[in-house]
Symmetry: C2
Subunit: 190 residues, 2 copies
Amino acid sequence: MAAVHLALIHYPIVDKHGDCVATSITNLDIHDLSRAARTYGVDRVWLVHPYEGQQQFLATVLEHWRKGWGSDYNPTRREALDFTVGALDLNEVYAGITAQHGTSPLFVATSARSYPNSISYPDLRTRIDDPNGPPICLVFGTGWGLHPEVMVEMDLILHPIIGRGPWNHLSVRSAVSIILDRLLAGDMQR
Amino acid sequence: MAAVHLALIHYPIVDKHGDCVATSITNLDIHDLSRAARTYGVDRVWLVHPYEGQQQFLATVLEHWRKGWGSDYNPTRREALDFTVGALDLNEVYAGITAQHGTSPLFVATSARSYPNSISYPDLRTRIDDPNGPPICLVFGTGWGLHPEVMVEMDLILHPIIGRGPWNHLSVRSAVSIILDRLLAGDMQR
């Protein structure tokens, strides 16, 4: 199986007016994404934000659960957060994954629109199941979604998540969980 | 297709010591579960808590997004929360679903353990796809999980979510999202 990484982008993001903004790192995103990633064997969760103060906030949360009072209170939370790291931008994620695996990653995002480089869940699953394949980094946006300047850097775009009907305004916590399950759950479960 | 409901239980819940406790309704659970439920065509989300003050908190949040400032700021959030209601206990959920559909529901929970009434995801999916089947109410716990006195009231118990390996300490927001996707996503997506 190829290595799978997960990146949550806080800048550049679009807001409801389509303007380019930075969003805040939230405590619950750190926990929910890390717990889902640990469940599905994701290598690392990268929380991407260019501001030093936001990275300091992330470091404080991680320290509490890895080494502080929280590590004794809830050891499974420590295990979940052991693979969570900060990065200032996607270039740092790219360099980190390349250094770890000796191969540069493919960046894969999701979008509600179709692109020339769109890929289905079964096809990406087949790629991940190839032990000689490159690392896959799943990229998720906060706010109203990834800014176009990030989208054009993506190697592949996953089809949007469709439930029953056209309404699909999922939280990023739900979207990450569902996509990890679609790509990485054992066949016995499905 | 059978009607599907979702209930999030805040009492009786077990804490990390196995003691019976009530947990608080959280703002983000209201939003994340409602958004996932709307995406997958769930009939209603029931937030179950016996305390009047907690139900008042829920009512305030719902009012803000359905009729207050939030309804104009984010109309899709209003659409998500239109199907979210409070209930004091599971009896009220049972009575409400029975009154709505004219048939009493099956209660289905998840558990990390095996039970005599365990059911797989494909088998429950088959039941849901039966348009003449009874309503299905998926029941989720907060805290460290549903108290045994709730578990014994369940008609069916879904297999635990397994990702890659034995570690599966997902947030309830992730678990709800994954289970709705496994049971209700279209075949084209999988």
